[in-house]
């Protein structure tokens, strides 16, 4: 016992160096850790604030745009008092921040004809033009959903099971519904007379860039007219088709996933074959994405993938075939015949404006919108006529 007591007495005073050692170690570790945390927090906060201000400012502009386009009475008050600044209050605070939004009419002008009223949009997702081909429009396979109208100038045949059409269904001669679980909502299918295409295009608009006023000439002037002689193959993942009008004398074969074509219209004298998923197109020629002039009772346009065609797929002399499974394809498919196969595909009607729709004379205005959130200021100049045809003349994001 005595020995143990002596040994403990010899350890007296050692706790201080140990405590100092622990403290020193803690300081070494804590310093960088706190510095890192501090930097990280400051960076995140600064970026978040900047982005929130930008989003908030953007939301203010979007709200003003929406109000300009859809609130005719309010727009009229601006038109009646050019130069008078009107303030807008957003119905809610985006990101907890309320931007200051001001709108003023800068100029007015009266435009005669066209552009007034709500533009009329295509209501047919599937259209079979042939009045002679038996079963010109066939929805086969299983479990397809069509969001949009369906029209056949002769027979409409719904085969297989579990198909649903949300929209008007029209046929001229025979309606055949086989299998189980097929629905037309609101239904029922309506027998009608032979109708012309609700929207149409002429190949002469696209094949001669020297034809004044044609789409080909316009694209040529913009440096966006492309001629593909013979077969045109595009493969690979995520390939981007150059913006503009593509005129092909032979077959068009697009394959690979994620194919993109922003402001692209493809016109072919032969067949068009598109496969792969994630297709994403918007049309260069308003409303028209793919156009095949080939005359055949077999497929002239085949789409076996999914994605967004962005506009109309037009084959006035041949058959359009959709064979995707389980995907979503957006577009309007107008052909001499239509054949839907595969299973579980959803066909959504794309927004395609019908030309010439709208009212008569209209007062147009040039408007400035200024949305301020913190130090972020977004200034936009718009020119608009009625409810449609609005142009963005400038969009500037800056700091006050």
């Amino acid at each position: 016992m005595k020995h143990r007591a002596t040994f403990r007495q010899e350890e007296r005073g050692e706790s201080l160096p140990l405590a100092l050692l622990a403290l020193a170690t803690g300081i070494i570790l804590i310093g960088p850790l706190l510095a890192h945390l501090s930097t990280s927090l400051k960076t995140t906060a600064a970026t978040q604030t900047t982005l929130q201000r930008q989003y908030s400012s953007d939301a203010g502009v979007e709200f003003a745009l929406w109000k300009l386009v859809h609130d005719a009475a309010w727009r009229q008050t601006l038109l009646d008092q050019p130069g008078t600044v009107a303030s807008l209050t957003l119905p809610s605070a985006p990101n907890g921040d309320t931007p200051t939004v001001e709108v003023v009419c800068v100029e007015t002008e009266t435009q005669a004809g066209g552009g007034g009223g709500e533009p009329e949009c295509l209501e047919w997702a599937l259209w079979a033009q042939s009045s002679t081909a038996t079963n010109g429009l066939v929805i086969g396979g299983s479990g397809h959903t069509v969001n949009g109208g369906v029209h056949s100038n002769r027979d409409l045949k719904i085969n297989g099971s579990g198909h649903t059409i949300y929209g008007t269904a029209e046929y001229v001669r025979n309606l055949t519904i086989l299998g189980s679980g097929n629905r037309i909502v609101p239904g029922p299918a309506v027998q009608t007379t032979v109708q012309p295409f609700p929207i149409t295009w002429d190949i002469n608009e696209f094949n001669d860039p020297n034809q004044p006023g044609s789409w080909a000439a316009q694209a040529q002037a913009e440096g966006k007219y492309y001629v593909h002689n013979g077969t045109w193959n595009v493969t690979g993942s995520g390939t981007v088709i150059p913006e503009g009008l593509h005129y092909c004398t032979g077959k068009v074969n697009f394959s690979g996933s994620g194919l993109r074509g922003y402001n692209v219209t493809v016109v072919s004298l032969s067949t068009i074959d598109v496969s792969g998923s994630g297709l994403d197109f918007t049309p260069y020629v308003p409303g028209l994405s793919f156009f095949s002039t080939r005359a055949a009772s077999t497929n002239v346009v085949s789409i076996s993938g999914s994605g967004n065609t962005g506009g109309t797929v037009f084959a006035p002399n041949g058959k359009i075939s959709l064979t995707g499974s389980g995907g979503v394809i957006t577009g309007a498919f107008l052909g001499n015949e239509i054949d839907i196969n595969g299973s579980g595909a959803t066909i959504n009607l794309a927004e395609v404006e019908l030309p010439g729709s709208g009212g008569s004379s209209i007062v147009c205005g040039v408007y400035d919108i200024r949305s301020t959130s913190g130090s972020t200021v977004t200034t936009v100049r718009m020119r608009g006529c009625g409810d449609g045809d609005w142009q963005v003349l400038s969009w500037q994001v800056g700091s006050s």
């Binding site: 170690t25 070494i28 570790l29 960088p32 850790l33 510095a35 890192h36 930097t39 990280s40 960076t43 970026t47 900047t50 982005l51 930008q54 130069g83 600044v85 001001e102 003023v104 800068v106 100029e107 440096g223 966006k224 981007v240 088709i241 150059p242 913006e243 503009g244 993109r260 922003y262 402001n263 400035d368 200024r370 200034t379 936009v380 100049r381 609005w390 142009q391 963005v392 003349l393 400038s394 969009w395 500037q396 994001v397 800056g398």
Partner: protein, 172 residues
């Protein structure tokens, strides 16, 4: 017994074996501590680098987004993006004032230069940018919707990429 007793009662220090064992344990502990500190220091540096890369990319992204949405036209020659941005004084008639904004990759720095009626100025918006790519292009003209990929790199951290998809807002 007598010898042992003498050794036991007369012991005032540690034996050589005890000293060696304690020294070895101390060396191991100190070694582990040094390694831990070294690793922690490395980790902190890597995190700082990672943060720096992210911050640089975010800053560049915010500014590029601001400028591209408002551009009426733009060109990209592989190293320099040139944007023409029209603007109008709020509530006033008159023609557009066009500001030209360029982004250039100079020695790993993304430099933004503005030039217009009010003169010109340059500022470095991001460092450590090793490369960048813009698509789709028609010749050198940028499309209405563009994808901008910025790649940032530091020696210790490797590279990091960010892709922005921006749609120009002006009617074409």
């Amino acid at each position: 017994m007598k010898k042992r007793l003498l050794l036991g009662t007369g012991q005032n220090g540690f034996t050589l074996v005890e000293t060696m064992i304690s020294t070895a344990i101390t060396a191991l502990l100190l070694g582990a501590l040094v390694v831990m500190l070294y690793q922690f220091n490395n980790l902190t540096r890597l995190q700082q680098d990672s943060l720096t890369l992210s911050q640089q990319l975010q800053t560049a992204g915010v500014l590029l987004n601001r400028d591209v949405v408002g551009a009426s036209e733009g060109t990209f020659d592989g190293t320099t993006l040139t944007l023409n941005i029209p603007s109008y004084p709020f509530g006033q008639t008159g023609s557009a004032q066009v500001t030209t904004v360029t982004y250039s990759l100079v020695g790993g720095n993304l430099v933004r230069t503005t030039s217009g009626a009010g003169g010109s100025s340059s500022v470095t918006v991001a460092r450590h940018i090793s490369s960048w790519q813009i698509e789709p292009l028609q010749g050198t003209q940028i499309s209405t919707t563009v994808r901008i990929t910025l790649t940032s790199a530091l020696a210790r951290r490797g590279s990091r990429s960010m892709t922005l998809t921006i749609t120009r807002r002006l009617s074409q």
